[in-house]
């Protein structure tokens, strides 16, 4: 499909368009004053020159977030149903070479987890698998989605990228949202950190959101794992990618996640591209100013105080009562975790914190029409 290639080409052409060290305070101030930002304004807000303007960016981000989304913060929880993986990603705990406990929940075990989650009142769920078609095939995921309809009103997927007709099948089972992290848009680094597995094919992954929309999904999520490569270039590419998809498919809901590299199992190496909280918040605010309509999710990789404040400024969705192992709610954990989490608060605790910030936690932002 030629159109698919063109979005990828446009994103890749723009990857190195700006030298982030060349932006000046004047560029940043111009971007801050504008209502509709272009790519250059967005890049200026991600540049080192914008760091002294972080408070102003946060103030504007909060205004835009409140006027578009009101006081509401959606709450969801992820459920990992399998951690088998065929990819060898150097930064990930599920790396197929890692000696971790692999496991996959059967449908009864999945239902026990769903029940335990539903008892907390949550209505939105994100179903995740490791990237192994063999261990977690489309029918297996489809069955998990179909069962989830019994308990939840909004079902999202974070699985290996699939074909448009497979997304269509999963949508017909009841899933409405698909998130695929590109991890990095730097194609050289991409090859270096994805040593084996289907994930090595950059183009199949970057076109996943478009296939998901063509398969009928209502919304798609984007993200780079900030810190694998230069985070400014990667954050810029996420924004460009999301904006181009929105322009081509105006009905689609757009969401962005902001994971950054955190300590993971079996690795002690120092990361030269470290992203500090200050820079992470800068990225979040730049996303909000560039894409006022996008949902923004902050994961439990971040500590609770950061997440609550991010929600107060620009995030629209946070998870609660999170387990990133396989099982662990309805019954004993069977398989190891993908990464270390820093916010282990229950649903009730997250709700009460959001109330303290004057925000309105919401479990129910959605009517499923399938």
């Amino acid at each position: 499909m030629p159109e698919e290639i063109s979005i990828m080409d446009e994103v890749l052409d723009l990857y190195n368009k700006y030298d982030f060290n060349e932006f000046t305070s004047e560029n940043v101030e111009t971007a801050l004053q504008k209502e509709d930002l272009d790519f250059k304004d967005f890049a200026a807000l991600l540049s080192p020159a914008a760091e002294p303007y972080l408070e102003q960016m946060a103030q504007k981000a909060q205004r835009l977030t409140r006027s578009r989304f009101g006081n509401t913060i959606a709450i969801f929880t992820p459920i990992y149903i399998s951690n088998y993986c065929e990819n060898q990603c150097v930064y990930c705990g599920f790396n197929c070479k890692n000696k971790i406990h692999r496991a996959k929940l059967n449908i009864d075990e999945i239902e026990k987890e769903y029940k335990a989650i539903a008892e907390t009142g949550l209505k939105e769920i994100l179903i995740l698998t490791g990237e192994s078609r063999k261990a977690s095939d489309i029918e297996y995921i489809g069955d998990a989605v179909m069962l989830a309809k019994k308990y939840f009103s909004l079902i999202g997927l974070e699985i290996y990228p699939v074909d448009a007709d497979e997304y269509k099948y999963l949508h017909e089972q009841g899933a409405d949202f698909v998130t695929v992290f590109q991890e990095t848009y730097d194609t050289e680094t991409y090859k270096k950190v994805h040593l084996a597995g289907k994930k090595r094919i950059f183009s199949y992954r970057i076109n996943a959101q478009e296939r998901a929309i063509l398969g009928g999904m209502r919304g798609v999520g984007f993200g780079a794992l900030l810190g694998i490569a230069d985070f400014r270039h990667d954050a810029f590419s996420v924004g460009v990618h999301a904006s181009l998809i929105q322009k081509k498919y105006p009905h689609a809901e757009i969401a962005i996640s902001v994971p950054r590299l955190r300590p993971y199992i079996n690795s002690k190496n120092e990361n030269p591209n470290e992203v500090h909280e200050k820079q992470l918040l800068q990225v979040i605010c730049a996303y909000r100013l560039f894409l006022p309509y996008a949902g923004i999710t902050v994961s439990t990789r971040e500590r609770k105080n950061f997440r609550d404040n991010a929600a107060n400024i620009a995030a629209t969705k946070i998870s609660a009562g999170v387990c990133v192992g396989i099982g662990g709610r309805g019954e004993e954990e069977k398989g190891d975790e993908q990464f270390e989490i820093n916010d282990r608060r229950s649903v009730d605790e997250v709700v009460s914190s959001l109330h303290d910030y004057g925000l309105q936690p919401s479990f129910n932002e959605y009517i499923r029409l399938i």
Partner: protein, 255 residues
Amino acid sequence: MSDKLVLGGKEFESRFILGSGKFSLDMIKAVVEDGGAEIITLALRRANVGGGENILDYIPENVTLLPNTSGARNADEAVRIARLSRELGCGDFVKVEVVGDNKYLLPDNAETVKAVEILAKEGFVVLPYMYPDLYTARDLVNAGAAAVMPLAAPIGSNKGLCTKDFIKILIEEIDLPIIVDAGIGSPSQACEAMELGAAAVMANTAIATAGDIYQMAKAFGLAIKSGRLAYLSGLGRVLQDSGEASSPLTGFLQD
């Protein structure tokens, strides 16, 4: 003098319609009371059964619910959401919102007309949110709408009466209540809409993002009343910059 807003055979003293989507739930009751609103809109997706706090528990009993179909991308989805609303006991009023553009959230007029036609036949009191276009408004009348709700500016923008001239045309040409919805950012703009002859004004973001939410609700309530009173009184004439010509063009007339 009795001056009631009549929608679907039901009478309302107040012409202030409050949107609920952007408030914390525990604020809703006080905002309704301070603003004197008698109708409150709510997204049905938020009133869906189960899961945490339910907005319906926070809405005072004497207030009429106006569930909306937000989330619908086409007529079919709007119809399904409206039917679900009735099944959930939210009454027969429905505000049809069909939005196929997730960036600007502008209503899709063509799909809106289709949805109104189906829902009106099913006995709903249908209030469609629309982009102020005269032809669409006429289609909505023919489709059985109970009122027409043109937008003043993009939703949530607080930019005021950007579409003023087109709303005026609807007020002049359409024999249904014209309710100005979306984009009203301040009480003076709400007042101006009422002076033009709008039947009611809906506000949400302008109040929810104000410094003192309760005072702002009150200010909107007063402005809407004031604008209505001005409209009923008949505005005085406005002199042109040049005043009246001293050598009239018609001075030559003799018999």
